[in-house]
Subunit: 276 residues, 2 copies
Amino acid sequence: MKTLSESRCFGGTQGVYSHTSQVTGCDMTFGLFLPPEAENEAVPLVWYLSGLTCTHENAMVKAGAQKWAAQEGLALVFPDTSPRGEGVPDDENYALGQGAGFYVNATEAPWSTNFRMWDYITEDLPRVLFSAFPLDESRQSIMGHSMGGHGALTIAMSFPGRFRSVSAFAPITHPTASDWGRKQLTAYLGTDESKWAPHDSVLLMRKRGFDGPILIDQGASDQFLDALKPEALAEAMMARRQQGIIRMQPGYDHSYFFVSTFMEDHIQFHAEALYD
Amino acid sequence: MKTLSESRCFGGTQGVYSHTSQVTGCDMTFGLFLPPEAENEAVPLVWYLSGLTCTHENAMVKAGAQKWAAQEGLALVFPDTSPRGEGVPDDENYALGQGAGFYVNATEAPWSTNFRMWDYITEDLPRVLFSAFPLDESRQSIMGHSMGGHGALTIAMSFPGRFRSVSAFAPITHPTASDWGRKQLTAYLGTDESKWAPHDSVLLMRKRGFDGPILIDQGASDQFLDALKPEALAEAMMARRQQGIIRMQPGYDHSYFFVSTFMEDHIQFHAEALYD
């Protein structure tokens, strides 16, 4: 693992690191914020999964999460959204290929060699994080934005007991029925839709739900609402009696201006679960 | 109007009053809490509509709302849930007749003479309240529990501009498709289901929505969940991009122990809208 930079931030440290991943077959970069408490003890960790086109950097510089994480004594990790580099396949469409890993393990050519973001986020990066930093593996929560909200929700529901809480800003909720999903799942996983189901939050909610609290924020002026389908997830959460809060926020769009506005609420929500 | 009782309560006054209603053709009793500020000025008013079997008294003594209303300087009105008295029809089923007005104007015999709770709550009682008490008609919000949540939501959506916010505890959301609804709407309004539609929150949400914020709380251990159908309202609210918050609260049932637990949040929610 290489340290690319470390900066003092709200009394803690915002670092950027890279490591060679055996899972994605390329170098991967991530951001990690450690609060002041990490100098003395292992601290809880909140994952932030980013959306389409993002690298590890977007949320790290635009979401305004460090202030609240510092107050609550929480670490934040900002992974990249896909493998990258010259030998890694890409597509001219921003919603496929580099910057658009969709948090799945691709099985189809040309993607299957590198695009294994499911295993990267759930196995490879945790191994790096918990061996190299003072992080308490028994206290983790996860959140994300848009495609990253999809990643956070699907991963949280697929690893019962690992995450105490999950939240999402404007998540892609139902990719098997969405323009943001069908094309990508076809490319990465093939045409057999039964392979898609484990990567659809609405279907996972109907089948098993999440064993902790969920917080969802959605902007009512989001330009991508038709692709996000919050109504499908809301229906599924209520039908399952899933512990959770769903909020429709009037006037807000899909940007980091929306994310940063409600970041304090999300960090406090996770802190409450992590210090329970 | 007769004063039945007035008691000091959190520095304000909890009164119980009765008046002869031309609309329901009988004497009607209501509770009214006035905060200390009402001695000097007209104060905002929050309506609380109760559920099946309740009188004006249940929420007044069990919901714990006065403490928060006093802090926020809000008045609270607790109307009865139906006409009552010896000449008023009734049914042996607790969910029809006295204590079960469903906030509609009955058109069918034997109910049509007295069971006009829609007009009572939206015309008759407001006339009494705003002529006799220091209440600011331009600042009103409305909430309710169960059948009263149904009343609050349907009335709020049907009078755009009258209420700044609406909230509900475990509301009956979709009575045209519920065991708590189809029987009563048939009895009160007849078999033509087009007459039922204006009294169904899910259908109203799909058609027009509410021009302000909505807060819904639902207990996940509510013994009546199948009749309440929060999933239908959640889906309709999100599909409409309705400003609002929906919360599924694990472990809570349908009782006033649930209502009183979250009453502070609801009063603060309304206060924010009323003092905007």
